[in-house]
Every structure is written in C-alpha cells, then in structure tokens.
C-alpha cells in the first residue's frame, strides 16, 4: 500500500513540476532573444500547397541571420521540397545553409478527427529525436498539422531545461474570421502568435496583428 501511495505522490509531484516548468517556459520565451548571441537557427514546419507558399513568402523577409534553416516536411508531401530548393537557390550566395527532414503527416485532408489524434501521436514519436537533435533557436510555423508535434517537442526541450526554443506561429491569410484547428491548439502554447486580419485580433487578445505579412 505504501509503495502505491509513494508512486501516486511522486507522479502528482512530477505533474505539478511539469506544469510549473511549462508556465515558466511560456512566460519567459517571449523575453528570450536568441539573436543577441549571433545567428538564429530556425526550424520551419512546412505544410503543403498554400501553406508552403505562405511560409516561403515569410522566409523571404528573413535576413541571413536566420541560419541554418531546418525544413521539416510531411512524408507524403511531394511538391514542397522542389519549392524549398528553388527558394533557397534564389537567396544570396553564401546564405543557403539549410536541410530538409521528413516526419509522418499529422493529418491528411478529409481525415477524421478521431484518427487524427493517433496519427499526430505517431508524428510526435518522430518529432522527438529530430527536434532534440537539431535544438533550434526558433520554430516557425503557419498552420498545417505538422506544426503541432514539432511545437510540443520544442516546448518539451524548454521544460526539461535542455534548450529555450522560441515558438512563432503565423496564422494563414485564409483565416479571416476564425482560427484553424492548429491555431486554436497552439494559441496558448506559442510565444508569438500572428494573425493577419483585424477580426481575429479582436477575438484573440494575445495575438499580434500587423496586417498582411505574407
């Protein structure tokens, strides 16, 4: 009996510690300035189709200080890698330090929500070793399901005290009146959350609104 009580108390204690660490990571992340030490490595979560177009437009505005760039794609995405290579070749000479990685897709278009939970957990298992290895300064994402496991692991790195990762989410231009599912999940969990239409800024006070940024 005593052993069981000890286990339960330990688990509760660990859970509370986890919550406290998570709170600290979320609060301090926005104040953390990785750029002050030099270049900022960026992990870019790449969705497909319009998500790719939007994220590459965003990256086009980033200077060479944001290097190296680690692109993480879904395994079933056939189009984005070509677009990434084209984008990187169009950057200034000497500024193309990048790599491409793949993880299982969290959710396919039209996939049911219930099976999406399982596929997201699967994606999470692949994300852990990848993000732990890369330890990026910043994770940049803009809406596809691929973002969720990557951001969660980024937070985990902070919670475990291994690395402070700044999470930046830019909601798609498509989202005028309502957030995407990914947006709703990540709204409380990111350090910088951008929306591109005023109606969303009014509904989500923590969001940053600078108009269209893609």
């Amino acid at each position: 009996m005593l052993a069981l009580e000890t286990v339960v108390v330990t688990l509760v204690f660990l859970f509370l510690l986890f919550c406290l660490r998570l709170y600290v990571v979320l609060k301090s992340g926005a104040k953390y300035k990785p750029g002050s030490k030099g270049s900022v490595s960026v992990l870019v979560a790449v969705g497909s189709g319009g998500h790719t177009t939007e994220i590459l437009r965003l990256l086009g505005s980033l200077s060479s200080a944001y290097s190296p760039r680690y692109y993480v794609l879904a395994q079933t995405d056939r189009m984005s890698e070509d677009k990434i290579h084209a984008f990187e070749s169009s950057r200034e000479q000497g500024d193309s330090e990048f790599s491409v990685f793949r993880i299982p897709r969290s959710r396919e278009v039209h996939q049911s929500w219930s099976s999406s939970v399982l596929s997201t957990v699967n994606a999470l298992c692949y994300s852990v070793p990848l993000v732990f290895r890369l330890k990026p300064d910043l994770i940049l994402c803009n809406g596809p399901g691929t973002c969720v496991p990557l951001c969660l692991v980024g937070l985990l790195l902070g919670v475990l005290g291994l690395k402070q990762v700044v999470l930046v989410y830019v909601e798609s231009l498509c989202r005028v009146q309502s957030l995407s599912l990914t947006g709703r999940i990540l709204y409380p969990l990111t350090h910088y959350f951008f929306v591109q239409w005023a109606a969303l800024r009014d509904k989500y006070p923590k969001a940053i609104f600078l108009g269209r940024i893609v």
Partner: protein
Amino acid sequence: MKTVFVTVGTTSFDELIEAIISPAAEQRLENRGYERLVLQVGRGTVFPTSKTCSHITLETFRYKDSIAEDIKNAHLIISHAGAGSCLEALSAGKPLLVVVNDKLMNNHQLELAKQLHSDSHLLYCTCRDHYFTLCTL
C-alpha cells in the same frame, strides 16, 4: 491571344474544371473574346484535352515549378480560393474570379474570398450555386 488561366493549386477541384469546359461556359468565354484557355488541374481526375473545347485553344497541365509566366500571360484568372493562388494572381494585378470549393471541411476558403471581395480585390462564387457560368460574364 486573350487568355484565361484557371488554377486549382495543389488541390483537386474537378467541379471547377468540368464547369469551365462545359459548352455554356465555353460560349460565354468566346462571347467575351477569349481565344485561349489554360488549365492547371493539380490532383484532379478530370484532364481535358484539346478535343474537349472546339472553339478555344486549350492547354492543360497538372503542375509547374512556377505559374508566374501563366499568370503574367493571362487576361483573366479563375482560381480556387487558396491563399497562395489568390496572392500570386493579385500581386500580378490581374482580374481574378475565385470559385469556392464547398466540399472542403468547414469551407474556410469562403472567408478569404468574402473578405477580399468586400475589399474589392476580386469576384467570387461557388460551383454549386449555378451562378458560376453567369459569373464568367
């Protein structure tokens, strides 16, 4: 040649492709002086060949590395309501008609089409409401 460029991005939007090559739509385009129709069909199962349209020169392809040239050469763009496609077309300053695919989950594309329409950047409609052929006017 006065050209219409139709794009569906990386999606599949058979209803739009079928509607634009229908005789009624073809007639309307001809009446408006269009001589060339370029279709970017993405993952769609409908792949029209030049035999499908008798009076208008037809080109069809699935994907290109960049559709910037096709956008540049077009006089009218008919697009699905994807943000990437809308941004590319509007950045090039081309007249844009957006057709919303109401089979998508939650139909979030309709939000963007409505907003850009109320900001006077484009016209929009859906395939289902049958006003599609009227919209090509």
